[in-house]
């Protein structure tokens, strides 16, 4: 009689299914397919997609690239952190380490950059606020995002992957200039 007894029919597979369930299954399946095809659709027509461009690297190697970027394009300093203003369209390097995002970036609105991210030590979370873009930053891997900031302003880069006792002090900055 119930769900915790063996089915009444020896061959339950052949018991006809009620109309209601069939209708619901068809509706649900349609919805599932829509959701599925939304993802490839967005890859083609959407403007927010992640590339899977990434490289294996080491902290030393990546740190050198970041330093090179700072040496070439440094325009100032804030609270001891260099501010870098890279040319539009160029490769931009930022690193996460206990407990800093390094350097501060100054970007131009509506210009496109190739933003590289990696970690020097543990995993970190690259969380741009208040726009709320979130990426996982993993040591040993250099991730490349092609990004076009389209709103000017001052953005915080909060670390949102737990990275030890100083996690809550790990805040960086990105300035987007008109």
């Amino acid at each position: 009689m119930t769900s915790f007894m063996p089915p009444a029919e020896r061959i339950w597979w052949k018991v006809p299914v009620g109309r209601e369930e069939i209708v619901w299954i068809l509706i649900a399946l349609t919805w599932c397919l829509i959701m599925f095809f939304m993802m490839p659709y967005w890859h083609i027509y959407g403007k927010q997609n992640l590339s899977n461009e990434a490289y294996q690297t080491t902290p030393a190697k990546y740190g050198a690239k970041v330093q090179e970027g700072i040496d070439q394009h440094k325009v100032g300093e804030e609270a001891g952190v260099p501010i870098v203003h890279p040319p539009a369209g160029s490769d931009v390097y930022m690193l996460g380490r206990l407990w800093q995002w390094w350097p501060i970036l100054e970007l131009e609105k509506d210009k496109t950059y190739r933003l590289h991210l990696s970690s020097m030590d543990w995993q970190h979370g690259f969380s741009v606020q208040p726009i709320n873009i979130n990426m996982q930053v993993v040591p040993g891997y250099e991730m490349v995002l092609t990004v076009t900031p389209d709103q000017a302003g001052e953005y915080g880069v909060v670390c949102n992957e737990y990275c030890g006792i100083g996690h809550h002090t790990m805040v960086g900055k990105i300035y987007v200039k008109e």
């Binding site: 339950w12 597979w13 690297t57």
Partner: protein, 56 residues
Amino acid sequence: MKETSDKPEKDQEEKIPAMQTLIDNPFLLLFIGVAMPTVFYLIWGIMEIVTIPVAP
């Protein structure tokens, strides 16, 4: 509750459909259930990671 097991059954002889045989076989299901994520999630995922090129 009614005991249905001892009542004469005409379907006793009828062959059980393949899908029911599958669903009634926990070990076959165990095999499929472990193979699917192992192949599609783990192995494919690890392949993706190990084929990432080294930074220039």
